[in-house]
Symmetry: C2
Subunit: 466 residues, 2 copies
Amino acid sequence: MKTYQPITPEIIEKLKAITGPTYVKTDRDMLLQYQTDYETNPAMFHVPDAAVSPANAQEISEIVKLANEYDFPITVRSGGTSLADGAIPVCGGLVLCMDRLNKILELNEEGMYMTVEAGVRTVDLQNAAKKVGLMYAGDPSSAESSLIGGNLATNAGGLRAVRYGVTRDQVYCLEVVTPTGDIVECGRILKKCSTGYDLEQLIIGSEGTLGIITKVTVKLIPLPPYRFDVLAIYTDPRQALHMVPKLMKAGIDPTSVEYMDNSYVRGCADYCHYKDMPHYDDGIYVIITVETFHEDELDTKMDAVCTICEESGAAEVLEADDRVWNMRRNCQTSVELQSKVFLTDDVVVPVHKIAGTIEKIMDIGKDYPFEVKINAHIGDGNLHIVLCKMDMSDEEWEKNVEEFHQQVYAYAYSVGGRLAGEHGIGAKKLKYMEQFTPKGELKIMKTIKRAMDPKDILNPGKVIDA
Amino acid sequence: MKTYQPITPEIIEKLKAITGPTYVKTDRDMLLQYQTDYETNPAMFHVPDAAVSPANAQEISEIVKLANEYDFPITVRSGGTSLADGAIPVCGGLVLCMDRLNKILELNEEGMYMTVEAGVRTVDLQNAAKKVGLMYAGDPSSAESSLIGGNLATNAGGLRAVRYGVTRDQVYCLEVVTPTGDIVECGRILKKCSTGYDLEQLIIGSEGTLGIITKVTVKLIPLPPYRFDVLAIYTDPRQALHMVPKLMKAGIDPTSVEYMDNSYVRGCADYCHYKDMPHYDDGIYVIITVETFHEDELDTKMDAVCTICEESGAAEVLEADDRVWNMRRNCQTSVELQSKVFLTDDVVVPVHKIAGTIEKIMDIGKDYPFEVKINAHIGDGNLHIVLCKMDMSDEEWEKNVEEFHQQVYAYAYSVGGRLAGEHGIGAKKLKYMEQFTPKGELKIMKTIKRAMDPKDILNPGKVIDA
């Protein structure tokens, strides 16, 4: 990794001239809030030299040009909800906060799109659409606290991707400040386009390494008026997992297919203080949501879902009420009850390989001193593995995590999977990215990064080692 | 544009050593077949110096490395159905034909995907999926003769994009030979992915300038068993066009919404020898297709479609039979009856701007000596404007076409549109690409092209002037 120049008082003065002095922070106590994101392991924390909160793309452009001139790194901070150390300034330098770009600029009902600044909270965007009977279909579990720009940067997935796709599928166009400081609009509000390279999709998912997203225009779709939520409880994980392909081929087009292993069922019920959850002791929960535009269609599909679940061996098939969804949404936070330091991993495999993958991971986990907890968006092959440090020593923890990951990632790649389905690579998985990505692919990525960001100014130490 | 080295006898010998002598052509009479694609204007034709038909990615890789070593350009030829001079070797050099890469490699019903070589005909891929009750949703009008690699290269759209999206939405992953000769797999069979840059979407739509696609894995979806096709006939184009937003917001999720102006209705009916087509003299045809998984749903949606059409002023609402679809599919070829040389243009605008755009284009057309014919995928804002040379002189034709285009493109860009919705830029629109694309966007595209193809070997003279 390259050596950068320090942020000098001269640079600080220039930053203050761009944003006004209020929006530049250099006090170490103030900067501590930017040393981490959702990372819980203090060994990974890093305090920046300064932080700045620009008001708009123009100011960001000036800051990026300054960074190129004085050769200091910029780490973009969106909602700070990264689970991959994406917002940690691992090379020091400047943290650039997006929270002041928080305006909804246009909601066009006829054109069915919404244009917002990148710092708008995902949930605010969802709610604005809902108010006019439309839907923004992106729905990461972090919607309450993540910002839409961060959703794009990591190509966030979440709970409704089975039907509606991931964040990249929700985007018409975006405005980006390039690594050399140009302000560029990529994409347009078009359903078809064959006019040059698809730059918006290249920027989406690049985790801030190819540009700072400042504005986003997302697709809105009609809000389906009918919905049902089924909770299918299994006692054998294989039966739960082998139900999925049948569901996907039945033309039901479910919105969500969520999986919580029994460890999560118990942990989340405890965390939410829910007594008497069915099969608390031995149940694996699969939540299936279906949305329709017609009542008849809803009835037909509900019958079909229940039949598929029963025939695949479900112990019980119930309506999934708010409690069940609340448990699902608290999977992440419920772990805090168990262990102060824990690690949430995010692996993705082809949907038809998820059953084998979960079985394999549980099998691998038996050799390790930590409990392996799994929740998964099984409808899209994306699983989250949580490991708890508990009272392990740092050395023991690091060693076991490393060995476990080597085994899990090697297996995932052997069945056509990848390191991350929705959390991104960040700093946390950089070394695995170098290890597991086929050489030719990595070469193209580095060629693009070096060409677009010749001084490696934006988010260095993330995604790839350029 | 740079000057390349000629293809010498030494190079020909090396090409023959790679593919075997049978697959290298240098005879001028044989090479004439590669001087054009669907281009009808001889002024645009260009005969290559040689043509080669490699068997696989390995041979293509060796040919590309040879081109880098000896500095000659390669133009990739897929089905040769480009309407944007995409397959014309405008810089001479070598034409590389994809027709020998024609094998379906795997159809995985459980995983719902199909892997094929890039030279498989689109229709063969569609039919292979249908045979097992699944659907490949890409459906360009040229499906009978285009090859899947060409569909990806131009991000082909077509008739079912309203519901299923364009070609880029159908692709899980691809194998590409890079401009420097590496063989790289981009993407995987994953529903979610946040593991580095989205290279597959960058390659898709790059019209062979960033790599030669050699293998493709496409998504398959369940084949909806129920379908209806409505023909709504209007006599006022505004009424037809203003119906579209209502249709899109009603939760009907139509598969196709196609528009033929009265000139096409008459031309296609004549071409197909159909007598007594309703409203032959004054009708504008809008064809609406809806597919469902349940019969009840079909009935409900059919009622809704008919009501929307009637309330928006349709003169007649009928079932669209095979004749109507046959007319629609022959829009392009029917024009040949009218004029030996004609120009099919492809412009895309936001869906909610299509009514105003078609009205504007008809208005612009009044000042020109050619008849302006319009058919459109109005459900996705994509329109095709056909101009017929008839017996105009070359000079008069060029001058009028140029002036007409300047007006049409300027208007399209003013409402957020783009030069091409599905045909690509090719060589034909290169100069407009330079003229109309915002500078910052063009700069990123050229940066990427130069970094990935430093010697400008692949498809020079197409998309951008690198």
